[in-house]
Structure formats: structure tokens, C-alpha cells
């Protein structure tokens, strides 16, 4: 499938934090949000999302509460905690630095001599 990109290992947490930072979401909503903001290029295996969500809750980066979804179904909503927000900032900076560095490395041209 052209246009789809594999998620790099370790980036799923960052994606989730970013998606949730835009407003409280339930699990399926997180998937939709990631798909939407990435222009459907980043696809996540659906089940794999939950271990990551639980891990982030355990680390105190996310908070979960049961509520009712737009489909009128019971769902668990996740939102960022203060430390989650901090972590998102740090990880974003880190990622940007890495991406910039990678970009300049890959953009390098063979020197003409």
C-alpha cells in the first residue's frame, strides 16, 4: 500500500501523547486522530494500542476516566496529566532535533572535486 509508513519503534508513545494532547480521547478515537492528523499515512495495529495506553497510565503520563462517546457508547477517555504534558514537550524537542539531524545527513551531496 503506497503512502503508508511503518511506525518507528518507540514512537508510538509520542504519537499517543500528541493525539491526546489535542483533547480527551478514547482508545479508538486515538487511532482515528493519529490517522487523521498524519493524513492516513501512519497506521497502527489496533490491538497494539492498548498495552501502550496502559503503560502510559502506569507511568502517570495519562489519566483515564469512563465516559460516554459520541456514538453513545460507554468508553474510557484518556487525557494528559501535567507530567504527560512535560514529557510530550521533551519528546517533541528530541524528535525535532533528531529529524533535523537526519534530514541534513540525508540531504548531503557528494562534494565535487
Amino acid at each position: 500500500m503506497a503512502g503508508e509508513a511503518q511506525i518507528l519503534p518507540g514512537t508510538l508513545d509520542l504519537l499517543i501523547l500528541k493525539a491526546v494532547s489535542l483533547g480527551p480521547l478514547h482508545g479508538y478515537g486515538v487511532l482515528l486522530r493519529i490517522g487523521q492528523i498524519s493524513g492516513q499515512t501512519l497506521l497502527i495495529e489496533q490491538g497494539a494500542l492498548y498495552p501502550a495506553l496502559f503503560r502510559l497510565v502506569r507511568q502517570g503520563l495519562l489519566r483515564a476516566t469512563w465516559g460516554t462517546s459520541e456514538n453513545n457508547r460507554r468508553a474510557k477517555f484518556y487525557e494528559l496529566t501535567a507530567s504527560g504534558r512535560k514529557r510530550l514537550r521533551e519528546e517533541t524537542d528530541g524528535w525535532n532535533r533528531l529529524a533535523a539531524a537526519m534530514g541534513s545527513v540525508l540531504a548531503a551531496q557528494p562534494e565535487k572535486s
Binding site: Y28, G47, A48, Y50, R55
Partner: protein, 883 residues
């Protein structure tokens, strides 16, 4: 904050498990519903949409499991889960579980007992402060004994010890007013308790300041146990006067409960000042030439001084003394070792080390055995494991549950083994092997024993639990489920077979060493001791403490011999001063010189024979045969020329040939010339393991001593004989304390070490045998059950019984043969260690070799009997129909 979140997550999971589980399930289901909703919107019907949603979601169970792990606190939960599961699995095969647990209980129990012994004898020092720096010294050629003046010089002139205390045994009759009881205590130097740095439980101890020359300090300190036993914890006992061999002593204190004296194998009843030993035991205090007064000296080494330096230091002082007092010194050198163990240090260490090694081997064999069992089980369960893998369980998780199973089994085995060994250790430490002698085995288990048992259990569990590791890691679920349980046959050598071979080798080592030991003991029981202790009674009296002196002693001894001879059934009566050979290690050596030698200094000594003083007819009573010359008569008394009877070894060393001995002369240390009038056979004098030693026998009328043993030879009933002997002696003197005991029962003390060694090795050998039976049985049964179908086909095609057996059990027998051969060779090598403990223990003994081969073969037959029967009773038709 994060920690709090983690804690809440773990706590919630552990405390509200059902809710959390439910929560998770609901959340996942909610996800699928949402997805289905979306799919429905895009035009799918509801049922199809939900199916699609479930497929898209992926492995439901797997993600749930991962999510559960992500919640944290997983370790404990998985452990509990695995434990529950393992118990269920084990309950399904109780036979396997019981065999495994018992095997381990045996192995761990054996190790715990051996460690208990190691701990009690070697690791745990005496129960006194700073025991690590406390070292015992011995100085002299005779193990353990030296003179008091010697000790004083060593104490004052050495530079290695902060202070040097010393002790000796004191066997006394202790009279509290109504009746004397025999008691064993220590005669100690005044600084004894101060050197040990202990404080009295009650009253006070005596000190150096209490000593003012011979017989100046009639004080008595009781041991706590003796105070408890004889004085019923009576605190008013302090200040009371009691009689020690009829001499008044004042009780001044009670030692603390945890202190039982400075000899590891004996517990002391009391402590008295050594300066008073003379009046109690008749041992003169200030004679340099004796070796009877001090058993062992000890003290704290100065900081920074090593035991080796201390030995050198003491040797230097000794060399100096030897120059100053040439006449009183024999060949002497110092030994420094653990207090209370100095004389036996080497032997005990070697023995315990050998035991530890063998117990370790037992454990290894048990682990190999269980490893094999587990591998077989894992192979049997390969279908189950494959299913679990296919359903999304991780290999990691399966391994964990297998390991949990192994550790559970080993913990259960460890608990059973520990319980049994603690029971045994308590019994051992309460055991008094000889009613007459206060010998004990200080092996009370402590926390260290429990810790070691636990550690051994866990480590061995992990060890044998790891065996199926490779098997599980390589499991390919598709292959196994497709092809059923028929595994590949005829692989070259599997890990399991290697384990079993190793185990059989170990067991053969154990069987070999225990056979060597048993055979050695058997031989030493039948060895030529130079005496015939059967049907003899030892009647021990001390005329000196009973008030006899001078010529009264020999007159009384003569009368005793005469009246004892009149007892009906008594064949021979003879007397020996002190104790006869082999009793209480009492044989002592003397220096003798050639008759030409005039300078009687140590360097000119011609021989150092054991010296016994015996009455006429002693040799007949003891059963020693007179080879040439004559025996003593009552005319060999003080007025007659000094004579001696020597053994062959003496004659050989002193005169070069046996025939020259009779009629020749030699000199004693005091210059007396004695003529050899008789020659007797060689014997054992101090211990059963000694090489042929020279011995001389002097006539007791010429060397009288009140302390003597009368040997009464009679084949009549022992109890009646004892009554008759006591009756006769009471007629002679009412107040004379008399001990009667058969010579054989007293010899048990001499045989004790090799007997203990033999019993422990025998038990270990038996364990080894049992392990190899279960090991071979397991392997044979397994290979038969695996190949039932193949065997059935063979039989259907007309194979003979022999061929079937060969196919089924050939491998097991081959393993048995190789393992046994390897074990036999190793065992023979290992048995060299045994030779130092068990007399006549030689592995190069055809009986032992044949015995081992026979034992291993019959073990093999026994273990393969049931599987062989099963293989032979196969009915090919039913078998082939079934599958």
C-alpha cells in the same frame, strides 16, 4: 508522582483483580464496537462489521496479556499465576511429583546434614568472644600431651600469643556428701577463663592470682549443664564444699550455659585449677619429663600474627628448651590448630571435606535425575506447549512456568529434606555414643543450616529446570501439532542420555566409596590386634585414690587377681597398669637406648616403643601369644633383676633380628638396664590405623601403680560375671570404687571414627543407588513408552523377545555400562581420601571391584525390570489398532 501512579496501578491490579480484568475487557470490547459502528456507517451489515472489527483488532488474548503486563506488578502476579498453574499440573501427575520431591528431599537433606556437621565442627568456632583469633597449640611427639613446666616456659617465652592457657582432663569421683559419682572435667590453668574472655553465670571464676604452687587452689567451677543436672539449678551451691577423689573443693561459680569446655567432642562437667591436679589425679605438677599434665594449650594470637608464624615461634622456644633440658625432651614439634580440635584437626577436616564432596555429588546426581525427568516430561507435553505457543503465549512465559514448576518441586523437596535433617542433627547432638564417656557431637543446626538448605533447593530447582530450556526454545508449534507426538528416533546422543550417564557415573562413585569403607571397617574388625578382646572383662580400679600406698598396692593387686581367679568359669586373670592397649588412647611412649649408650639425650634414642606394665599371666588373659622366652612371674619383683618382654617390631628395630633379642639388654630413660626375657607378637596399641609399632612390657611388680585394669577372661554370661566380680572385690574392700566393662565395648571408642565414616558413606552410597534406580527406571520406562508403536511393529513382523528387549533397553544398558565403568575408576581414585580415615580401606581389592560391578548390574536389572516386562507383554494387534 510517577511512583504513586505505578503503585496505584499495581495495587489496583493485585487488590481489585476482577474489576481490572473486567475493565480491560470492556474497554477492548468498546473499541471493537466503535470500529464496527464506523464500518456499519460505510455500508456493511452489522454482523459482518463486527466480524471485520474483531479481525482488524488482531490477537485479542495476546494484547490483553501485553496490556496486563503494561499495568506493572506483573512479576508477583505471574508468579502466583504460574505457581497456581504448576500446582494444578503437578496434582495431575502425583506420581511424578512425589518421586521428584522425595529425590530432592533426600539430596537436599543429605546436604543439609553434611553442612550441619561442617558448620558444627569446622565453621562454628567455640562459643566464646573473638573465637576467630583463638588458636590451640600442641607441643610434643605424643599427640596432645606435654608437661606443666613446659607449658609455663612456652607461655612466658613465646611472642605470638597474648596469653596462653591450658587444660587437661580430670576423671574423678565427685562426692557431694552421700555418694561419689564419676564425673569428667577439665583441670585448667588459672588464666583459663580470662584467656577465653567469658564471664561466670553464677559466682566467680578462679584466676591466675588464686594459684600459689601445688594444691593451693581447691576451687571448683561447675558447667551449667552439670549444675542443672546434679544440683537442680540450686543457687545456694556457691560456697558449698564437695569431695573430688576424697579431697575437699569449694564450689565458687557456674560457667555460662553456652560454654561446654574447650574440647569439641566432649562436654565438661566441671573446671578445677590445674595446680591441684596432683592431689586429685596424682599427676606431679613440676616434673618436666612427663607428658601427662597438659592436653592442649591455647590463646588469642596477637594481632597480625599468622598461625604459621606462631608455629615457628613455638618451635624456636622448644628448640631452646631442648638444649636446656636435654634429658627430659624427646622428639618434639609444634602444631597449631583450632582449639578443641587440634589433635584431630586434619582427620576431621579431611573427613568432613570428603563428606561434603560426596553430598555435593548426590545433589548433582539428583539434579541430573530430575533434569532428565523434566526433559522427558517436556517432551511428553510438547503438544500442550505447542498449543500454548500457537494460542499466543510467549516462549518466555512458558519457560517461566516450567521453571516455577521446578522450583516449586525443589522447595517442597527442600522443606521435607530440611525437616528430616534438622531432626537428625538434633538427635546427633543429643546423642551420647558411649554411656561411660562424655563424648558428644556438636552439630546443633542454626540459621546458617536453614539458609544453606533453602539456597541449595532454589539453585538445584533452577538447575534442573533449565534442562528442557533448549527443547522449549526450539519447539515449532506447527510441526508438532501436525506430526503428533512421534519424535525423532535415533538421534546420536541426547542431553537426557548424557545426564543419565553422568548420573550413573556419580552413583557408581558413591557405591564404590561406600563399599571401600564398609570393607575397610569389616577388615579392621577382623584385623589382628595382637589381643583377643572377645570374652574379656576389664575391671578398673584406682588404689591410690582409695588410700593404698607403697607395698600395699602390689599386695592388694595380687589378692584381687587371686580372688577373681576363684570365680567359676574364669579362665585367665591378668593386670595391666593404667589401661590395656587401644583403650582411651592411653598408650604412652618411652625413650629407650642401646645398652652401650651412656649419654641419654634425645638424639641418642634408639627407639620410642609403647610402654605397658603388666602382671604375670597378662598375656594369657589378653590373648597375646608369647613367641619365645618366658612370661613374667611374681618373682620378677623389686628385688629381682629388671626384665622386659618386647614385641617383634621392637626386637627387630633394637637388635636387628628377632632371634638375637632374648637375653639382650637395653636401657630405659632413667638409666635402668633391662634384660629381654620374652618375645610377643605385634599388635595395635594406640589406634587401629597405626603401622606396626615397637612395644615393651615391663613387670608391674617392678613398676607398681595403683591405677590399673584387671583383665578377666571368661566365656560365661557377662551380667553374672560382673556381679560375681563386684561381690568378690567388695569382700576385699567395701569402699573401693570398681568399674567393670567388657573390653569389646570399650574398643568401640577406638572404632568410633571409622564406624561413623562407614555409616555415613554407607548411607550416601545407598542414596546413590536409589538415585540410579530411579534414573535408569525413568529413562527405560520413557524409552519403552515412546517406542511402543515401533516395538509393536517389530513384534508383528516376527522379532524375537531378545531383539525386542535389545531395541527397547539396549541404550539404557549401554549407558549403565559406560557410566558404571567411569564411576568405578573415579571412585577408586576418590577412595584414596578414605584410606586416611577408614583403616584398611583400599580400593584395589577384588571383592570391592566385584561388589561394585555386581551392585551396579543388579541395580540396572532392578530398574529395567518393569519397563522390560512392559515391552515383552506388548500385544502388537491391540497396539497397532489403537493408534
Amino acid at each position: 508522582m510517577r511512583f504513586l501512579a505505578y503503585f496505584r496501578s499495581v495495587a489496583a491490579k493485585l487488590l481489585y483483580r476482577p474489576q481490572v480484568e473486567d475493565d480491560m475487557e470492556q474497554e477492548l470490547r468498546s473499541h471493537i464496537h466503535h470500529r464496527a459502528d464506523d464500518l456499519e456507517h460505510s455500508g456493511m451489515n452489522r454482523i459482518e462489521a463486527e466480524r471485520r472489527a474483531r479481525i482488524e483488532f488482531g490477537g485479542h488474548a495476546r494484547f490483553k496479556e501485553e496490556a496486563r503486563e503494561a499495568l506493572g506488578g506483573n512479576f508477583i502476579e505471574t508468579l502466583l499465576q504460574d505457581a497456581r498453574f504448576s500446582i494444578r499440573v503437578l496434582c495431575k501427575s502425583p506420581g511424578f511429583a512425589i518421586v521428584a520431591i522425595l529425590t530432592l528431599a533426600m539430596a537436599i537433606g543429605a546436604n543439609a546434614v553434611v553442612f550441619g556437621v561442617l558448620n558444627g565442627l569446622i565453621l562454628r568456632p567455640l562459643n566464646v568472644p573473638q573465637a576467630e583469633s583463638l588458636w590451640g597449640t600442641e607441643y610434643g611427639a605424643d599427640p596432645g600431651f606435654q608437661s606443666y613446666p613446659n607449658y609455663r616456659d612456652l607461655r612466658d617465652r613465646n611472642h605470638s600469643f597474648e596469653d596462653l592457657a591450658a587444660f587437661n582432663f580430670a576423671f574423678v569421683g565427685l562426692d557431694t556428701g552421700n555418694h561419689p559419682f564419676r564425673a569428667m572435667g577439665f583441670a585448667t590453668t588459672g588464666n583459663y577463663f580470662d584467656v577465653l574472655r567469658i564471664r561466670p553465670y553464677l559466682g566467680r571464676f578462679f584466676h591466675s592470682s588464686d594459684e600459689h604452687g601445688p594444691n593451693s587452689a581447691p576451687y571448683l567451677v561447675l558447667s551449667y549443664a552439670y549444675w542443672h543436672r546434679r544440683f537442680q539449678d540450686d543457687r545456694s551451691v556457691i560456697g558449698r564444699t564437695v569431695l573430688l577423689n576424697k579431697h575437699p573443693f569449694t564450689i565458687i561459680g557456674v560457667a555460662p550455659p553456652e560454654f561446654r569446655g574447650t574440647l569439641l567432642f566432649a562436654s565438661s562437667d566441671f573446671f578445677m585449677p590445674i595446680v591441684d591436679q596432683e592431689q586429685v589425679n596424682g599427676l606431679p605438677l613440676n616434673v618436666r619429663g612427663t607428658t601427662q599434665e597438659i592436653f592442649e594449650a591455647f590463646g588469642h594470637l596477637r594481632p597480625g600474627v599468622t598461625p604459621a608464624q606462631a608455629t615457628a615461634d613455638l618451635d624456636a622456644v622448644g628448640a631452646d628448651l631442648e638444649k636446656t633440658y636435654p634429658k627430659e625432651f624427646g622428639q618434639k614439634r609444634s602444631v597449631v590448630g583450632r582449639v578443641g580440635l587440634t589433635s584431630f584437626d586434619h582427620a576431621v577436616r579431611a573427613f568432613v571435606l570428603a563428606l561434603t564432596l560426596l553430598a555435593g555429588l548426590i545433589l548433582l546426581a539428583a539434579c541430573a535425575n530430575l533434569g532428565g525427568l523434566f526433559a522427558a516430561r517436556a517432551a511428553d507435553r510438547s503438544r500442550e506447549l505447542a498449543l500454548r505457543l500457537a494460542l499466543g503465549s510467549s516462549r518466555h512465559r512458558i519457560l517461566r512456568s516450567l521453571l516455577t514448576e521446578a522450583v516449586l518441586i525443589s522447595l517442597a523437596g527442600g522443606a521435607v529434606g530440611l525437616w528430616a535433617s534438622v531432626e537428625l542433627l538434633y538427635r546427633l547432638s543429643g546423642w551420647q555414643p558411649f554411656p561411660g564417656a562424655p563424648i558428644r557431637i556438636p552439630v546443633t543446626p542454626d540459621a546458617k543450616v536453614y539458609a544453606v538448605a533453602l539456597m541449595v533447593a532454589v539453585v538445584s530447582g533452577l538447575l534442573f529446570g533449565m534442562v528442557p530450556l533448549r527443547q522449549v526454545l526450539r519447539t515449532d508449534p506447527y510441526q508438532i501439532i501436525k506430526s503428533g507426538s512421534a519424535s525423532k528416533i535415533g538421534r546420536r546422543i541426547s542431553l537426557r542420555e548424557l545426564l543419565l550417564g553422568g548420573q550413573i557415573a556419580i552413583c557408581a562413585v558413591l557405591v564404590t566409596s561406600s563399599m571401600v569403607a564398609v570393607r575397610g571397617l569389616f577388615r579392621s574388625l577382623n584385623a589382628d590386634l595382637g589381643i583377643q578382646p572377645r570374652n574379656t572383662m576389664l575391671v578398673t580400679t584406682n588404689l591410690a585414690t582409695a588410700g593404698y600406698s607403697g607395698d600395699q598396692v602390689i599386695t592388694m593387686q595380687k589378692r584381687m587377681i587371686t580372688v577373681l581367679k576363684t570365680i567359676p568359669g574364669v579362665e585367665q586373670v591378668g593386670l595391666v597398669n593404667n589401661y590395656p592397649p587401644l583403650i582411651y588412647a592411653s598408650a604412652s611412649r618411652a625413650n629407650v637406648f642401646k645398652t652401650k649408650t651412656s649419654d641419654l639425650r634425645p638424639s641418642n634414642v634408639a627407639a620410642r616403643p609403647y610402654r605397658f606394665e603388666v602382671s604375670p599371666r597378662y598375656f594369657q588373659a589378653a590373648g597375646t601369644s608369647l613367641l619365645a622366652g618366658r612370661g613374667f612371674t611374681w618373682h620378677d619383683d623389686k628385688n629381682a633383676p629388671r626384665v622386659a618382654i618386647v614385641n617383634r617390631e621392637f626386637a627387630h628395630r633394637m637388635f636387628g633380628s628377632v632371634t638375637l633379642a632374648i637375653g639382650s639388654y637395653y636401657k630405659l630413660q632413667d638409666g635402668t638396664r633391662v634384660q629381654v626375657v620374652g618375645l610377643v607378637e605385634d599388635g595395635k596399641y594406640l589406634s587401629l590405623t597405626e603401622d606396626p609399632q615397637p612395644a615393651m612390657f615391663l613387670p608391674s611388680p617392678q613398676w607398681p601403680s595403683g591405677d590399673s585394669s584387671v583383665i578377666v577372661r571368661s566365656s560365661h554370661d557377662t551380667q553374672k560375671l560382673i556381679l560375681a566380680i563386684r561381690g568378690k572385690l567388695r569382700e576385699l574392700d567395701r569402699g573401693l570404687p570398681v568399674d567393670t566393662e567388657t573390653w569389646n565395648s570399650m574398643l568401640k571408642v577406638v572404632l568410633f571414627p571409622s564406624r561413623v565414616a562407614t555409616i555415613s558413606l554407607g548411607v550416601l552410597g545407598l542414596m546413590g543407588a536409589m538415585l540410579s534406580i530411579t534414573g535408569i527406571f525413568g529413562m527405560a520406562a520413557y524409552s519403552v513408552s515412546k517406542r511402543l508403536r515401533e516395538l509393536g511393529i517389530r513384534m508383528a513382523l516376527g522379532a524375537q523377545r531378545k531383539e525386542v528387549l535389545q531395541a527397547a533397553l539396549g541404550r539404557a544398558f549401554k549407558l549403565l555400562a559406560f557410566g558404571s565403568a567411569a564411576g568405578l575408576v573415579l571412585g577408586i581414585l576418590a577412595s584414596r581420601v578414605l584410606a586416611s580415615i577408614v583403616y584398611e580401606a583400599t580400593p584395589r581389592d577384588p571383592v570391592v571391584l566385584a561388589g561394585v560391578v555386581l551392585a551396579m548390574t543388579s541395580l540396572g536389572l532392578l530398574a529395567t525390570w518393569v519397563p522390560a516386562q512392559r515391552a515383552l507383554s506388548l500385544d502388537p494387534t491391540t497396539l497397532l489398532r489403537e493408534e
